[in-house]
Point group: C2
Amino acid sequence: MTAPMRLLEIEIPAEWVDYNDHLNDAYHALAFSRAGDAFMERLGLGEAGRKASGRTVYTLGLIIRYLAEAKLGERIAVSLQVLEIDKKRVRFWLEARRVADDTLISTSEQVLICVDRTGERPRAADFPAEVAAKLEAVAADHAELAMPLEAGQGLTLRRRSASSVTP
Amino acid sequence: MTAPMRLLEIEIPAEWVDYNDHLNDAYHALAFSRAGDAFMERLGLGEAGRKASGRTVYTLGLIIRYLAEAKLGERIAVSLQVLEIDKKRVRFWLEARRVADDTLISTSEQVLICVDRTGERPRAADFPAEVAAKLEAVAADHAELAMPLEAGQGLTLRRRSASSVTP
């Protein structure tokens, strides 16, 4: 059975919690960012792969939707589903769930681009061949998964995407 | 002349910089989160206002678009434009610019909701009357500003919103 790729588990530390006594919005972003790093590691664009190829990834855009509160000391697990790829870019969907009861805490949709950093200025570049092959395999596998309902949507006060996430 | 509200300036510290030698994606989110806090302070929902009213704000969703790199030690300024409000929620647009040359580094669109934390569980609530009055005044002022081109859009590999932010 095809399933999203489980990438990491994090225990929420005190410095990630804000005046609302919950995981701060920006630290959801940090957990998702670390999951993205773990995904790149699996594709061969971790530290060694970046050094060998001179390529890395930059984030072009992301959306985070906050669905439930996460508290100090709770463990959250982040999983990833590839939505779309081309030669230079990948769009994926992340979900953070509370490990104890599998509650969905937040989702993130992200677009990353491969960048060549060996020149004078960083510039968009194709993924290295071995990375592209691995990415295509994951994308083909994940093509069997249902597209998340809110993927591709923006934020407004009027549409589903905002009103459905009232805590 | 109506202008977006300038909320804060931050100098990028070493711990916000990642293996790409630039401001990490999640720390753009942290800069924007602090700008949101500064906006709430101005509306009367800072620490004292939260204590007096028992109300606070939670972030329901956010989008960040990354447009240029920011480096260690650079100063960035964050400004805010209110896009839309109702009794419980506000949608606003943030821009982070490099102070030295006014380069637009990143933008963020966010939806926040007012929450009453005095009950057993946090629940959505109207903004306190004085906060709502201030928010309406800012929204009326900002209604004169042009709507940002990408406001309300989502992320894909195919549409303007993603392709226009290639570094």
